[in-house]
């Protein structure tokens, strides 16, 4: 991939409209919010416009269409476009480096499109539209949301605007600005059910945790700015500029990038700033789907991916490998940790949340490895090395794509499950008062302790929600990396590259081992989730009464299932090359069929013995060991009279067999300290809370006290001191004229002796 030597400024008709991709949703934010305030409760607003949902939908569709047009334009051009329209000089200022004049500085806004942009632009706008559709089915059918959905849609479109803006921005600064905008929306949406203390706390936690990362990001940006005098991609990726910087401050650059990486850690919920993501599931499910699985968490990855040109630069050869290692290790550790915690989660969405965390960690590992390779191999000149680097980077990006699609789908599917379970519960227990006003609905929503998200309240739903179950199945398979499905293509690449790097640099055994173990763990917890939810007999009465879901919800699930399954086609088209290097384009090397064959060959019949074995170990772990254990523990056939769709039957049957044949009592593990620790998220949150309460709050209370006692106390004691001095002074005016005369005499004598003495 390459720097700006390839970038050209292209003026094309669709590029002119690129800002609209951002502006349309941004403006509809205000529109929806305003209309919602005004027409809240109005039947037309509520039923026809879906409280803004049907305003957001066309806007998102328009954004998608514009994005697609932009993408197609780009695909024709094959190279990075910079500043598609006149850059807006946002901030004009000057610095002074001691010379004879000040140097003017400009922080402007523009649009920059390259491969990474295009890929993420598609992911974002596509998923935004689907989730918007899903939301209409999900949000507008739940009475608790009545009369506040406009807030949801407004914040939703603002979020989309932020995401799209972040992807399109032409500088790290504007990346950061939109990044923060997303953070705000995420905060607002997590706190959508503001009246729940847990939601309020989760929202705060999310904002604050990412903010901590952002602080580092800002400092990193500032340092980067200082090195380059700009944050524009065109400037900072310029080979000449990088050479200049590399000459004397490669170390500083590594620090800057490292600090920026911490920002990414926060945003993408990696260890140790991961604590916010599970709590963020307090938000409505579409929010979890969109923000906390499909798009926003990808922002961190995007940021790291954006740093690739530094790692790939010749001038910085070998200078940034430590950072690459850190990136990979953070990914590796998080992957295992999150997967382990996911083992014991009972909450459907939390399993997915930890899964998200874990999969993002994979991508980080992949990026870290790719960056290590780019930084240490002489890939600009060596063709083989070039290929290795490109594929490694491409695999990570491809996993990003696959994961976004699959996880978006999984969350929507889980939302659909939760939605229906909740409705079933509602029907069952509150049949009588359903007609009451919303206030009551609202209240009894909280009064009962039924948890619609707990998998303990599900089971055997495969027959009742066929589309959902299918989508969930495909999505899980993709995440697990079952051969030929979705994530398989990218995950194998990541694992392989990790091991490749580990061969070069023994430090990398840590992440490499992690991702390999992680594969098995993924297999286990994803299967566990699916079986607990859809296989076996309904675990209680509610689960037995779950009905099918509505069309708004089904449509996106349906679409995404196919997208996930078609991953092989993308792989065949050379996604891994295209996504990472401008010199490739789709189908540039091979035809589709050839490509698929090549990929198959590459994956399953690797000529290198090491990678051949590695591939099968990974497949064995991810597709056999993990799911096998899960089947043994949680599998089972459906209840009598329930039938699943044909494509799910083998799975169900297999699981029932496994469960019957290999079931073992895992209560020893379940009750072990380790499992309890996992249930408590390894106590990390607790330590953080303790630190907040004891150290930060304690310290700030002390400081506040010092402020009023010491600083203001000084002022007050000056005041009271002068008051008592005043009392003393006035007490000398005794009231007796004799004393006054004495004073006059003393004054006289003092003057006398003073003059006598001096003269």
């Amino acid at each position: 991939m390459a720097g700006s030597e390839n970038s050209v400024t292209v003026h094309s008709e669709w590029m002119e409209y690129a800002p609209l991709i951002i502006l349309l949703p941004m403006m509809s934010f205000a529109v929806i919010l305003f209309l919602g305030r005004v027409f809240n409760g109005h039947p037309f607003w509520k039923n026809t416009l879906k409280e803004g949902g049907l305003i957001a939908l066309p806007v998102m569709a328009a954004s998608l269409i514009l994005s697609l047009l932009l993408i197609s334009e780009f695909l024709k051009g094959h190279s990075a476009f910079d500043s598609l329209f006149e850059t807006i000089p946002w901030v004009n200022t000057a610095v002074w480096n001691g010379g004879a004049a000040t140097d003017s500085v400009s922080l402007g806004f523009g649009i920059y499109v390259d491969h990474i942009t295009v890929m993420l632009l598609f992911v974002a706008s596509f998923l935004c539209l689907l989730i918007n559709t899903f939301s209409i089915g999900y949000m507008n059918t739940d009475p608790i949301n009545d009369n506040r959905n406009h807030r949801f849609y407004a914040e939703f479109v603002l979020f989309c605007s932020g995401m799209l803006g972040m992807v399109l921005a032409d500088s790290f600064l504007w990346l950061f600005i939109f990044w923060e905008l997303m953070g705000l929306c995420s905060y607002l949406l997590i706190g959508f059910y503001y009246e729940r203390p847990s939601a309020a706390s989760a929202a705060k936690k999310a904002f604050l945790t990412t903010r901590i990362g952002d602080v580092f990001l800002v400092v990193g940006l500032v340092m980067l700015w200082d090195l380059f005098g700009s944050l524009n991609y065109a400037v900072v990726f310029d080979t000449y500029n990088i050479e200049q910087v590399a000459a004397h401050s490669a170390g500083t650059l590594q620090w800057a990038l490292g600090l920026m990486f911490i920002g990414a850690v926060g945003k993408s919920a990696q260890f140790p700033l991961h604590v916010w993501l599970p709590d963020a599931m307090e938000g409505p499910t579409p929010v979890s789907a969109l923000i906390h699985a499909a798009t926003m968490v990808n922002a961190g990855l995007y940021l790291v991916a954006r740093m690739f040109p530094f790692f790939g630069a010749d001038a910085l050869h070998g200078d940034l490998d430590d950072l690459a290692f850190i990136i990979a290790s953070v990914g590796g550790i998080t992957a295992v940790m999150a997967a382990a915690i996911a083992f014991v989660q009972m909450d459907l969405k939390k399993v997915l949340a930890y899964s998200t965390m874990s999969q993002l960690a994979y991508i980080f590992t992949g990026l870290g490895c790719a960056m290590y390779l780019a930084n240490t191999l002489d890939w600009h000149h060596d063709k083989d090395a070039h290929y290795i680097v490109i594929v490694a980077f491409g695999a990570a990006l491809f996993h990003l794509f696959n994961h976004a699609m699959a996880k978006g789908m999984l969350f929507m599917a889980s939302g659909s499950v939760i939605h229906e379970v909740h409705h079933a519960h509602h029907h069952l227990h509150h049949h009588d008062d359903h007609g009451d006003d919303h206030g009551d609905d609202h209240d009894d929503h909280h009064d009962d302790h039924f948890d619609a998200q707990s998998m303990e309240n599900m089971g055997g739903l495969a027959s009742k929600m066929p589309i959902t179950a299918t989508a969930m199945l495909v999505g899980s398979a993709s995440i697990m990396g079952l051969p030929l499905i979705g994530g398989f293509w990218s995950k194998e690449g990541i694992i392989a590259n990790a091991w490749r790097v580990a061969q070069d640099d023994p430090r990398f055994f840590l992440p490499a081992a992690c991702v390999l173990i992680g594969a098995a763990m993924t297999g286990f917890y994803m299967s566990r989730m699916w079986f607990m939810t859809f296989a076996g007999k309904p675990k209680n009465e509610v689960a037995a009464h779950v009905g099918p879901t509505n069309t708004w919800i089904k449509t996106p699930l349906f679409i995404l299932t196919f997208v996930t399954l078609s991953s092989i086609i993308l792989a065949g088209m050379g996604f891994t090359h295209w996504a990472s290097d401008t010199s490739y384009s789709f189908l540039s090397e091979r035809t589709l069929i050839e490509g698929i064959v090549y990929e198959m060959d590459h994956a399953f019949l690797n000529s290198d013995a090491f990678f051949f074995i590695l591939t099968y170990i990974a497949i064995f772990l991810g597709a056999v060991v993990g799911p096998g254990l899960a089947m043994a523990l949680y599998g089972g056939s459906l209840a009598e009279g329930e039938t699943a769709k044909p494509w799910m039957r083998p799975v169900l049957r297999l699981s029932a067999w496994m469960n019957g044949r290999f079931y073992f009592d895992n209560s020893a593990f379940r009750d072990s300290t380790f499992a309890i620790a996992l249930q408590n998220r390894l106590y990390i949150d607790e330590y953080y809370d303790k630190a907040m309460v004891n150290i930060v709050a304690g310290f700030s209370n002390k400081v506040a006290e010092a402020d009023s006692e010491v600083i203001d106390g000084t002022i007050k004691s000056i005041e009271s001191g002068s008051q008592s001095l005043s009392t003393f002074v006035r007490s000398m005016t005794t009231g007796s004229a004799r004393d006054y005369i004495l004073m006059v005499s003393v004054g006289t004598l003092v003057i006398f002796f003073l003059i006598w003495g001096m003269a």
């Binding site: 001691g98 905060y187 604050l208 500032v222 709050a697 600083i711």
Partner: protein, 546 residues
């Protein structure tokens, strides 16, 4: 010519205020209540007219003035009347890109304040006092004569004192006196500095406006140009030690006004007790007088001393920034928290100045402006909160989003703006200060640890704002009850006039956040001018010529 225009800008509000107050002074309570509404209207119309005038000035409708490209120490709309000949005192007014944004801000906040506090009690006297406040503030910003500057500087205390004393909270008696005495103390010391500076003028220099009795002039422009000449000769104007002493004396007055830690404790008391309108003007413009004064006098006159005290200033700024933020975290009173956040934000200004970079200075100027738009909204929210819930305690009222969606929205917006969310006015300034700070650190080889403070504060600021929102806007749950202080009355949302004020403030916060260049360009231009005109020739080798 429209050059005289700043005369009515200052004079009319003051005169109108005195006339209105005299008009109601001997009326009985019933008549006053009857007069409150028309007087309020008069004040609103009057202040809106001022806004129209200043906006017209911005759009070059009056005088056809471009606010950019005004060279250092020259002024637009400048005008002089002889005031006290013997001492060389003039009614000397003028504006440059440093003062004009502040003047505009003042005229902008006046109508907004009136709208936001539409139903303030005793309106017949309240609104004229607000108007007087505006006149005095404009006077500070337009004056180009040290005497006049000081007169208006102190004159601002009087209306504010009465606003706090007459319309304030429970401890207003203490707070108003503390406010007055504290800032007065600092400014008399500043006055002594000004006078000493005055007498240090070289009488052999040609001084057009010199006093007949003293042979010296109070004219800022003349003094600045003399200092400029002297400084550019490579000498410290007035010699090293004297310059330092004068610098310290002047800065003391301005730092207390700003306020910087450890001279800040008057501010929380004043803010907590002040009525909403008072707080809005206090935070919005009055604090900026300190920063404005720094730029206008010590920084323009004593660049050497500035360089000498750069480290000290940086330390003061850092301490203000961090201390203010940490104290915020420990507050349970909403308004006090917001007041301390002002202290913290003013620390940003001091840091911006201490960077001695055009960018840092422009950032400080923009911070003054942005904080001037944001902080009134913060205080308007606090005021509405207090007004409706009769309490200022964080946590007294939860689930505001349900009871008072407008207030909740305004609060969240204001809080977010204040914590520096991008695309809102505060972000640009903070970012620029950070960049300038790092630039300076890197160029001069300062310790990287200087970045720790600002970085820490970015997180802390978010923490205290989020913490307070969690306990006010959010939560409540099923138990969402009106606060006990309401005694069972229904919970009202903010009134229409308050809504209007919030919307205006929010719109401008977004406007200056999305399009900062509207104001920033002229500020940047001014800083470049002062750097190229003053700082750079003197301290050319200052950064080691990196």
């Amino acid at each position: 010519m429209d050059d005289w225009i700043s005369l009515p800008l200052v004079g009319f509000p003051l005169i109108a205020s005195v006339v209105l107050l005299a008009f109601v002074s001997n009326a009985n309570q019933a008549t006053r209540d009857r007069l409150a509404s028309p007087i309020r209207m008069v004040c609103l119309v009057f202040s809106s007219l001022l806004l129209v005038v200043t906006t017209g000035m911005f759009f070059q409708y009056f005088g056809n003035v471009s606010w950019e490209g005004i060279s250092f120490n020259s002024y637009e709309f400048d005008h002089r009347y002889l005031w006290i000949e013997a001492l060389g005192i003039h009614w000397a007014v003028g504006m440059d890109a440093l003062s004009f944004p502040m003047v505009w801000l003042t005229t902008f906040l006046l109508p907004v304040t009136i709208i936001a506090t539409w139903n303030e009690k005793n309106g017949a006297t309240y609104f004229p006092i607000v108007l007087a406040m505006g006149g005095a503030l404009i006077g500070v910003f337009v004056s180009l004569d040290l005497f006049m500057f000081y007169v208006f500087w102190e004159l601002t205390l009087i209306p504010m004192f009465f606003l706090i004393l007459m319309w304030g909270g429970k401890d207003r008696r203490y707070a108003s006196q503390k406010f007055f005495i504290y800032t007065f103390t600092a400014s008399v010391i500043m006055l002594l500095g000004l006078i000493t500076l005055y007498f240090f003028q070289d009488t052999s220099n040609p001084m057009i406006h010199a006093g007949t009795m003293t042979g010296r002039t109070f004219d800022i422009q003349t003094i600045t140009s003399h200092a400029l000449v002297e400084n550019s000769n490579g000498n410290w104007y007035l010699g090293a030690n004297i310059q330092k002493v004068l610098f310290v004396m002047l800065m003391l007055g301005f730092l207390v006004k700003l306020p910087a830690v450890p001279f800040h404790t008057w501010l929380p008391d004043a803010h907590v007790q002040a009525p909403t309108g008072g707080s809005m003007l206090l935070a919005g413009v009055m604090l900026k007088m300190g920063a404005y004064g720094m730029f206008r006098l010590p920084l323009s006159l004593f660049p050497h001393a500035l360089q000498y005290f750069q480290l000290t200033l940086m330390i003061i700024g850092m301490i203000s920034l961090v201390w203010g933020a940490i104290v915020c975290l420990g507050q349970t009173n909403l308004k006090k928290m917001v007041a301390y956040s002002s202290v913290s934000h003013m620390g940003v200004i001091v840091i911006g100045i201490a960077t001695m970079q055009p960018m840092g200075w422009a950032a400080a100027l923009f911070m003054m402006f942005a904080h001037g738009v944001i902080s009134p909204m913060l205080f308007a929210v606090c005021g509405a909160f207090k007004h409706h819930y009769h309490s200022m305690e964080i946590g007294a009222m939860r689930g505001m989003a349900k009871h008072s969606p407008w207030l909740a929205t305004s609060m969240m917006f204001a809080w977010m703006a204040s914590l520096g969310l991008p695309l809102l006015a505060g972000f640009v300034a903070e970012l620029m200060v950070l960049i300038a700070l790092w630039y300076m650190i890197a160029a001069e080889g300062w310790s990287v640890l200087w970045m720790v403070g600002p970085a820490l504060v970015l997180a802390i600021t978010a923490a205290y704002y989020l913490w307070s929102m969690q306990r006010t806007i959010f939560e409540g749950g099923d138990e969402t009850q009106p606060p006990a202080s309401l005694h069972g009355e229904p919970v009202p949302d903010i009134t229409d006039s308050e809504k209007l004020a919030m919307i205006i403030l929010a719109v401008f916060t977004i406007l200056f956040g999305v399009m900062p260049w509207i104001a920033l360009d002229m500020m940047n231009d001014w800083t470049v001018q002062i750097f190229e005109g003053l700082i750079l020739p003197i301290l050319g080798n200052f950064n080691g010529g990196a």
